[in-house]
Amino acid sequence: MAAAYLSNILFKGIASRSLSTPLTGSCYYGMRYLNTVSNDPDTHDDFKPANKHESSGISLADVVEKDVKDNPVMIYMKGVPDFPQCGFSSLAVRVLKHYDVPLSARNILEDPELKSAVKAFSHWPTFPQIFIKGEFVGGSDIILNMHQNGELKEKLKDIKSKQ
């Protein structure tokens, strides 16, 4: 908690403009595929389909695939960008905020099934996981390394900046 708080302070210093800017809408806190089931007061657990995503015809693997395809910079993390709940996720967000690109995020702590789906998709065991232009780039160590050696700048340069 203290670490997250501290990193927020640091991160304000670096990119205060980003904190107040809403991130790409539907993905941020993006639990749109869950809403159909869990927010319906008339449903009961007993009546849920065995696979809750089946009813909409969208599997979590599809959700992940669509996420990384539709969002030039997609991060699956613990917590949300302005309140990361893990030092590694915090670090990754801090690095990405150096660049003027839209950042889309999902909080895997909110959904263990999504967490598994992302791991299966990337064959990578830990979080955060960062995808740029549909390509898996790695976790916080790698993104930091790419930031330091200029590779990240190169990779992000043709992504149009946020409003």
Binding site: G79, C86, G87, F88, T126, V137, D141, I142
Partner: protein
């Protein structure tokens, strides 16, 4: 798992990690720091407060087998070797993976 903790006959996770990596990657440098204490309070760890030991490590590894491999590949090699540990409570690994050649030519920003 929990019952094995503290038993002297069982190798610590740190030792298991080291021996797995050393054997497979023929590391010339292999430093592993247990930093679990730094993460004892965070969200995922709170769910299981009794399992706060040997969950987070910093790994500095130099191996000739990383030659020609991207960082993602190098990390995957490490993760693949530690699949058992990752599925039994190893929570996070911060990895610095270099080739012997890179350690002589690069100056690292950190330390």
């Amino acid at each position: 798992m929990a019952s094995s903790r503290g038993a002297s006959v069982v190798l610590s996770r740190a030792n298991r990690i080291k021996s797995k990596l050393q054997t497979a990657l023929e590391a010339t440098v292999l430093e592993l720091d247990d930093v679990s204490y730094q993460h004892a309070g965070h969200a995922a760890m709170k769910q299981n407060p009794s399992d706060n030991q040997e969950t987070h490590f910093n790994l500095n590894i130099v191996s000739p087998k990383f030659e020609g491999q991207t960082l993602v590949k190098r990390h995957r090699m490490v993760y693949d070797l530690l699949a058992d540990e990752l599925s039994s409570g190893l929570h996070a690994l911060s990895i610095v993976a270099k080739t012997p050649h890179e350690t002589t030519t690069t100056t690292t920003a950190s330390k």
